[in-house]
Every structure is written in C-alpha cells, then in structure tokens.
C-alpha cells in the first residue's frame, strides 16, 4: 500500500529528473558565488549532460543556490565539451571517505567564508574531537563522515524539513548506522533490538518526540552533540540530563549518591532511569531501581519504601478529593474553589517527587503531607456540603409540616368565618 502511494510521487520525480536538466541546462548553469553567470558570461557547467541525476540532486541542495558547481568539490573543467577535457587535472573524481571531512572543511572551517551565512566554522575541529573523527583519523572508515549525515549532492539547510539533519529527522539519520535493520531487511522492519535507536524509540524521550510530536523532548543530538558527537562520560551524565531536568539534578547533587559519585563510585541518572531506553519517572522505580544495588531489608531500601509510601499516599488522597469534587459538581455545588485548592495540593506533590533524588525523607514528607492535608481538607469540606444538601431536604419536610399545620388552622378559621352570622 505504501509502495502504491509512493508510485505517483516516484513518477513525478522521474519526470522531473528527465525534464529539469533539459529545461534548465542552458539558462541557469551553476557558477561562482554571488554572480549571475548567465548575464556575466561565466563558463557553462556541462557535467549534467552525462550526470543528469546527480545534477538534479545537486540543484535541490543549498550549495547550487549559493553559486557552487561540481568543480568546487570534484575539480575538472565544467565547461569542457568532451569527457577527457572535462575530467582533466585538477580533476579529483569521487573523494575518498577519509578525505571528505577535510574537503568540506576547506570551506566550512574558513571563518571569513562562513560568517556571512552565520554558520559556525568550528565544525571540523569539533568533528576531530568526536568518536567519529578520532576513529577516522586512526583509519577506521566505517565511522560517519560529513556526507553520511548531511547527504552527498543534495545537501540541504539544517532548517529545511527535507534535510536529513532537520531536528525531526535526526533520530532516523543517526539510526541509519546506530540500529537500523541490516541491509536486505524488508521495508518497515524494526531497528535492531538493543541498539540505541531501538531503545530511544521505546524510551520516554523517543515516545514523546516521535509519537507525541513533543518538540521539547530530546533527539540524539540533544544529549550527544552533533559534530562533536561523543557519549557523555560517567561523571558527566547528570550535567547532560540536568540541562532539562535541572530540579532533579539539583536534588541529586545534594544527595548521598552524588557524593559517592564524586568519590568515584556512585550511580548517576542512567543507573536508575536507563540511557537510551529511558523509563518514565515513576515512584515504581523506587522499588526496582534501588533494589538493583541495595540488599533487601537494608536501611537504604527502607528509605526508598518510605518515600514511595509518602508520595503514593498523597497521590491517592488527591484522587479521593477529585472524586468528591466530581460528586459535588454533579449535584450541583460550586466546586471551582476546591479545584483551585486541589491544584495547590498537586503542586506540592509535584514538588515532593524530585526530592527523592536527594534521598531526603524529611523534605519529601513535609511536601507530601502538605499535599495530603489540602486534599483531605477539600474532601471533608465537600462531604460537609453534601451533608448540607441532606439537611435541606430535612428542612423541607419540617417546612411542609409547619405549612400543613398553618393550612389546617386557616381551614378552621375559614369554616368559622362561613358559619359566622351575617357572613
């Protein structure tokens, strides 16, 4: 079905590939930056005559629009009419993988050339510090070079949604090496089990970014960087996570785990939450994650269990209060104020949760008890109001009893008035 849907698009692409070069070949040849070569009589680029598909790709990219042509990277003579003349020195042909970063850097490390585009010129330097760059220098050609992520001829701007490095496409681009199904797998096959890409997709970050389109969730580059792509070292994980989870990191640094970490042997974020397959931050982790290191029945597990009980208790109490509000709203009673107060309780609970990172039972207790207290108060006040409704009905019965008496008296008075002589 997917193939069937893609078919018309493929036809359109093929047609475009067939016609665009013919239509555009003469009037708009590529040329040096900032000039209109059709007007200035600059040399024509004839490479597309033999390489039409490459030319179509190239013209989709940003480099053709900025006035570069095939010779900018490949050398040779673009205006030559014969293959021999065109491929004459200084013709470079297809650059070797290990030469590609340096070739790109010949422009992209040039500060004077990059500044007008507001593109940083340090990407090559960053690349050389990355795992990719370090291994390439050592002769490992299996690592990513510029073209693996940015494309070869069709290099698009980073903010172009069709670009392979556009934020939304980053997980797929990294996933091409870090977990994509092996070549020959059927279309739509899941990534390799246990690979970073598969784990990211299954984790809360990937769920949020890919499934819920939450753009504030991180992609690969958010934690690893892009050109200087390097896994954060053990001591640096809390710094990376703390860029977004500042509160949790703050409490973590106050706690005994961070102290142990500074002394060289302590857990950081990923120990409990995982790295690529990140689990939803939930009190249930206090059961599973803590028990991974601490002995059953140990003092530490009691602390974890205590914090969990406090948070769960407050959460349940808030749930009861919500149910009471729903009951009252159905009657109807005015519940907006109660809802606002319950928000306060919820805020206290939200404040209490990250304090578990400091393992500070006292502070967790203080906030959880506040949340619980507010929720209990709301619940009992609503119960009071529901009781008032019952009293209203009792009042109505009493009222009718009294009214009945009054009516009976009136009926007697009326009878006497009728019997009155002369009446």
């Amino acid at each position: 079905m997917r193939a069937a849907m893609l078919f018309p698009a493929a036809v359109a692409m093929a047609l475009a590939a067939a016609f665009v070069p013919c239509a555009a070949a003469e009037p708009v040849p590529a040329g040096p930056a900032g000039t209109d070569r059709a007007a200035s009589g600059a040399p024509r680029v004839l490479c597309g005559v033999c390489h039409p598909d490459v030319r179509v790709q190239f013209e989709q990219g940003v480099h053709s629009r900025e006035g570069f042509d095939c010779t900018s990277c490949h050398g040779g003579n673009a205006a030559a009419a014969t293959v021999e003349a065109a491929h004459r020195a200084p013709f470079r042909g297809t650059p070797k993988r290990r030469d590609i970063p340096a070739l790109c850097a010949s422009c992209h490390a040039d500060l004077a050339m990059m500044t007008p585009y507001n593109i940083p010129a340090d990407q090559y330097a960053l690349y050389l510090t990355s795992q990719h760059g370090r291994r390439l220098v050592k002769g490992d050609e299996s690592v990513a070079v510029c073209t693996d992520c940015h494309g070869v001829h069709e290099i698009r701007r980073e903010n172009d949604p069709k670009s392979s490095v556009f934020a939304r496409n980053v997980p797929d681009t990294c996933g091409r090496c870090h977990g994509a199904p092996p070549p020959g797998s059927p279309e739509g096959a899941p990534p390799v089990e246990g690979s970073p890409f598969a784990d990211y997709q299954a984790g809360i970050h990937g769920q949020a970014y890919l499934q819920q389109a939450n753009d504030s969730a991180p992609t690969c580059a958010s934690c690893h960087g892009s050109h200087g792509a390097t896994p954060p070292g053990v001591g640096d994980v809390d710094k990376v996570c703390g860029q977004c989870h500042a509160t949790a990191r703050g409490y973590y640094r106050d706690g005994p785990h961070a102290r142990a970490m500074r002394e060289g042997n302590g857990p950081e974020c990923a120990h409990c939450h995982g790295n690529h397959r990140i689990a939803r931050a939930d009190v249930a982790l206090l059961d599973t994650a803590c028990a991974a290191c601490h002995e059953p029945g140990s003092e530490m597990l009691k602390v974890a269990g205590g914090m969990k009980a406090l948070i769960v208790g407050a959460r349940e109490e808030i749930g009861h209060a919500h149910a009471a509000i729903d009951r009252a709203a159905a009657i109807p009673l005015y519940v907006e104020d109660y809802k606002a107060r319950l928000e306060e309780a919820h805020t206290a609970l939200v404040q209490a949760s990250p304090i578990v990172h400091a393992l500070d039972v006292g502070r967790v207790e203080q906030l959880a008890e506040r949340a619980r207290g507010i929720a209990k108060e709301v619940e009992s006040e609503i119960d009071g109001k529901l009781g008032e409704r019952w009293w209203r009905r009792v009042g109505l019965l009493l009222f009718w009893f009294y009214l009945g008496l009054t009516l009976a008296v009136l009926a007697v008075i009326r009878r006497r008035a009728r019997e009155e002589p002369g009446g």
Binding site: P332, V335, R393, A411, I413, R414, R418, G423
Partner: protein, 379 residues
C-alpha cells in the same frame, strides 16, 4: 378629610393611628393591587368600614380561574422582596457581577435560597402571565367593558419578559450572557421598536455599561412599571367587576373575610411550592461569561423563541426586518384584539370561530417555539 368622630372610651392603637392617618384610604389603595378583595367606604372610620366590607358577600375571588392575577401579584411581591435582598450583595459591574453572584449563592447565609426563590418566582410569574392571557382569550374576558384590562394584561406580560431578560444578564454566567445576546438579536430585528430599545439600552453588545443599564431597568424601572400595570389591571377589574362565565352563578355567598382567608391559603401554597422547587430543583452552577467565546446551542429565552423562528425563517430575499415587522404586527393585533372582535357573546359556544382561531394560533405558536428551539442561527 376630617378625622371621624373619635370616641375617647376606646383607646386602641388602631384608634390612635386613625386620628393621625387615614387608614381606610390606605387599605382601599391596597385593594387596587388585588391583595384586599372588597371595596371600602373611605368616608367611614377604619374599623367600621373594614367590618362592613368583610361581611359583604362577594363574587368568588381567590379561586380558580380568577387566581392567576392574584398569583401573579403575589409572585411579584416575592420577587421584589427576594430581589431587594439580593441587591444588598450584588455588584453590577462586568468584573464583579459573576463573583458577587457566586458569593451570594455560596457564602451568604441562605443566599442560595433567596437566589433560587427569585429565579423560580420569575419563571412562574412569566408562565402565570402567559396562561392568564390565554384564559382571558378563551373565556372572552377581553370583551367590553374589559378592553383596558386585557391591554394591561398584555403589556404586563411584555414588561415581565423584559424584566426577565434584564435579569438573565445580571448573573454574568455563560448562559445568561449568551441568552441575552441571542435575545438582543431578535429585538434588534424589530423595525423601529428594535433600534429605539437598543438606543435606550445604549448599544447592541452587552458590555459593562450595558450591564449597569440592565441593572437599573431590572431593579427600578421595570418593577415600577409592573407595579403600575398591576394597579391599572386590578383597578380596572374593580371598576368593571370580575368577569364571570355565563354559566357561572354570580353570587357565591362567600364573604370578603372568607375570600381573605382563601387568599392567605393561596399565598401559603405558592410559597410552599416555591420552597419545594427551590430545594429540589436548584439551578446548576455555571462558568462565568466569556464574551470572546460563544458556546454552542445558545437560544433566546422561551418567550422569544417564536419571534426568533419567524425572523430567522424569513426568506433570504427579504430584508431581515421583514420578519421583525411580522412579529410587530402580531403583537399589535394581540394588543387591539378587543377592538377587532366586538361580538357580544363570551361563552365558548357563542364564539366557536374565535375559539377555533385561538386554538390554531396556540398550535402555531407552539410549533414556532419548537422551531425556534431547534433552529441553527442563520448568518
């Protein structure tokens, strides 16, 4: 008038007051609102005049079907009383109206009771006035010499709808606000009358000043107008006498005293009914009005649904005021009905055609009301 011959032997409070006020005239004035059934001889001392009046046999009063006028006035009195209590706490500004309204219902002791009493009394009053008009029509009560009584009843109903409409906005709740907006759209489509009313209200959109004007109309001008209309009505009834169906015997032998007791029983029953409704069927809480957010399914109040249907169902080739003109023509016809139907008979058998027309009109009105209820506003 000179005080009646004071007898020094009887030193009662009534006698003391009698020498300083004309109590007979005061009570006679009250009888013009239907709360005292008999006529008083204002030239005689109070006790004497009262005793005489109480013993006088009267045509039946404070009994079906002549209770509707009296019930309406009783409800009006409830509305004035509860309205005054509500006004102690209410603040007619855009920012405070809703807060004040919820505070009355939630925080003020028995505020919910007063507020709901006011609401239910208003609903019942409108229904009562409407039913009364239909009774007048089907029993031929509008015929000479009761043309003015009929016209007073029609205008009373119209004034009461306006009092209801102005009151709906005061709560500044979503329904109150948007019902008013829908009602204003209907009124705006009435040629001449619509623009004049809109001019008096000071615009076509309910804003803060609009709310203040509605408040003044609601608590001062319309109640005064209703009071005057009730006075006109009961005064007219007293002058021309209660109407009686031809089959009914005029003298029931009931004295005014019995009628007074009947009236008190009636008032007690109305009060009991209201308290029951208020306790068992209170109006739900609603969110505050947001002028920038139109909720779906907002309609004009029920009495404007038929005019709403007529105006909205006017063919698009005609101007919008054409429908409004039809509504105005119908209103005028209702008002001058006594002068159009001048035949003498008042019994149902003598006016078969008129009764048939009335039933058809009632059916059409119900149909249009249903139409207006289910109509999507055409824009």
């Amino acid at each position: 008038m000179a005080p009646a011959d004071p007898t020094p032997a009887r030193r009662s409070l009534a006698a003391w007051l009698e020498t300083r006020f004309n109590l007979t005239e005061m009570l006679a004035f009250l009888s013009s609102f239907g709360v005292f059934p008999a006529e008083l001889d204002t030239t005689r001392p109070f006790r004497e005049a009262l005793r005489e009046a109480m013993r006088r046999p009267l045509p039946s009063y404070a009994r079906w079907p002549r209770v509707l006028g009296l019930l309406s006035f009783l409800l009006f009195l409830f509305l004035v009383t509860t309205g005054a209590l509500l006004a102690f706490y209410y603040q007619p500004t855009e920012s405070e109206a809703y807060r004040a309204g919820t505070a009355i219902v939630r925080d003020v002791t028995f505020g919910w009771f007063i507020h709901q009493m006011h609401r239910w009394s208003a609903r019942l009053l409108l229904v009562m006035l409407m039913v009364r008009l239909w009774r007048f029509f089907f029993q031929g009560t509008y015929k000479a010499p009761r043309e003015a009584v009929w016209m007073a009843a029609v205008v009373t109903f119209l004034a009461a709808t306006q009092a209801d409409l102005t009151g709906r906005l005061l709560t500044w709740t979503t329904t109150g606000y948007w019902t008013t907006v829908r009602a204003l759209e209907v009124i705006h489509a009435l040629p001449v009358l619509g623009p004049v009313l809109m001019f008096l209200a000071g615009g076509t959109t309910p804003d803060s000043l609009f709310l203040t004007r509605f408040y003044v109309l609601h608590i001062a001008m319309l109640p005064a107008m209703l009071l005057a209309l009730f006075y006109l009505h009961f005064n007219g009834v007293r002058r021309v006498g209660l109407s009686h169906a031809p089959s009914e015997s005029r003298a029931t032998g009931e004295t005014a005293r019995v009628q007074m007791i009947n009236m008190i029983i009636l008032a007690a029953l109305v009060f009991g009914g209201l308290v029951t409704l208020v306790t068992l069927a209170p109006t739900p809480f609603e969110p505050a009005a947001d002028p920038a957010l139109t909720p779906q399914g907002m309609r004009p109040p029920w009495y404007l649904l038929a005019p709403h249907a007529i105006i909205e169902m006017t063919p698009t080739m005609l101007p919008r005021w054409a429908g409004g003109l039809v509504v105005e023509a119908i209103l005028l016809l209702i008002l001058v009905l006594p002068f159009l139907d001048t035949s003498a008979g008042r019994g149902v058998r003598e006016r078969r055609v008129a009764v048939a027309i009335g039933i058809v009109i009632l059916a059409i009105w119900l149909f249009l009301t249903w139409q207006g209820y289910s109509l999507e506003v055409r824009r």
